[in-house]
């Protein structure tokens, strides 16, 4: 199908985009890479009156590490994340995850900001933001808001972003020496949306997790920061403890049923991911089958 008719404006600056958003509100949609927006429009799932193309706004581009904070502009494309040495060093979880996002032709246009604002619960990057404890920076005409990723995602395609605000950047803590990350997802075809996935960021000291953030995706209406992680933190992980954490995880998830996978299947896959993650991060292969 083809997109319905709409008006189109090329925004020249963030302020210019915000003026258009203020004028049109819910009737406008922001176009960055268009790799989620255009399919939705072609399928007539949405028919905005105005498309505000922010693709040419230079101030929304760029990746820069300042002290212990990594700043990533909203228009940073997936391909930029994949090829960036700063990302590989300061946020390796993002490099790993982005390789799973769709296909090369999509990654050449899709943007970080677009993916986060779209908030597909099966998408990789929102989960990474939750695992990395990112701050999402949004701007409106009255000023800037800084929102913790875990608060930002509110449901299927829902965020705390208002119709008159623009997502401009994210800020991540730079990975420390003792930090480690894990990313894996199960999908029908490489690059498809996951049936279940896990983005995890940890700090490991003396073979013990002193911090562990487990962000599961495609198993709820938003990325799920699993409480089960506390079971595994600041203690020596035994097979029995992993089983217990797996039980806790199973109870806290309420995955959806759809034509791709049933709810019990997604829950099972999440438990498999938990065991793989713990075994990989701790370098203990014997835990790989744990708790499932």
């Amino acid at each position: 199908m083809k997109a319905a008719a709409f008006a189109y404006r090329r925004a020249t600056s963030v302020d210019d985009a915000l003026d258009s958003l203020a004028a049109y509100g819910e009737k406008a949609k922001v176009l960055s890479g268009g790799q989620s927006l255009m399919p939705a429009m072609n399928l007539r799932l949405i028919s905005p009156e105005l498309i505000i193309d922010i693709g040419g706004i230079a101030e929304l581009r760029g990746i820069a590490a300042k002290g212990d904070v990594l700043h990533i502009g909203a228009l940073t494309r997936h391909v930029d994340l994949l090829s960036s040495p700063e990302i590989a060093t300061c946020a390796p979880l993002l490099s790993k995850a982005t390789a799973h996002v769709a296909h090369p032709a999509i990654r050449n246009r899709g943007t970080l900001g677009g993916s986060l604002a779209h908030a597909d619960p099966a998408a990789e990057l929102p989960a990474c933001m939750v695992a990395l404890d990112a701050v999402i920076v949004v701007r409106g005409r009255t000023g800037e808001r800084r929102i913790a990723a875990v608060e930002f995602f509110q449901g299927i395609f829902q965020t705390t972003l208002s119709a008159e605000e623009l997502l401009v950047a994210v800020e991540l803590p730079v990975a420390q020496k003792k930090s480690a990350c894990f990313f894996h997802e199960f999908a029908r075809r490489h690059g498809d949306y996951a049936l279940a996935g896990l983005a995890a960021q940890a700090v490991i000291e003396d073979d013990v997790f002193s911090d562990l953030r487990l962000a599961f995706f495609a198993v709820g209406d938003r990325p799920v920061l699993a409480g089960a992680a506390t079971t595994l933190t600041n203690t020596a992980v035994t097979p029995m403890l992993l089983s217990k954490a797996s039980e806790v995880l199973s109870k806290e998830l309420d995955p959806q049923d759809d034509q791709q996978a049933s709810s019990p299947m997604r829950r099972h896959l999440a438990r498999v991911l938990l065991a793989h993650c713990v075994a990989t991060l701790l370098g203990r292969p014997e835990l790989r089958g744990g708790g499932v």
Binding site: A5, Q35, M38, N42, H103, P104, R109
Partner: protein
Amino acid sequence: MTTPMTISLSVNGERVDAQVLPRLNLADFLREHLHLTGTHVGCEHGICGACTVRLDGEIVRACLTLAVQAHGANVETIEGLSDNGELADLQRAFRDRNALQCGYCTPGMLIAAQDLLKQHSEPSREQIREHLSGNYCRCTGYQAIIDAVEVTARLRRSRVA
């Protein structure tokens, strides 16, 4: 503003000026305005890869790109890449290996494969599979396509050596 907008771009090295509605995607612009029908339209929502073209040197989905977004850009289609000979050896390998049957996916498949070969002179079969994972073929079962890309990489390496 739902009225036509003026765009100016380069298509296969030729300057094109046109009036287009904002809703027109790049694939339809190429096919219907410029009659470059080698860019195929399959799913129209970014899944199948039949509409793959090059935009400023990078492969993109023409169905997920608006013609107005290509203003000022350099677009290359299968027609341009065939005429200039860039894909000749890859096309020959596709023919030799029966890497196409109906041919619907072939232009997109060739452009995506060439994109990989430009980045990696010695891709593994797994890398080829991964790079082409966004291009559907409903005839061949993919093995012959992967063979053709692999053999082209090998022949290009031997030519350089």
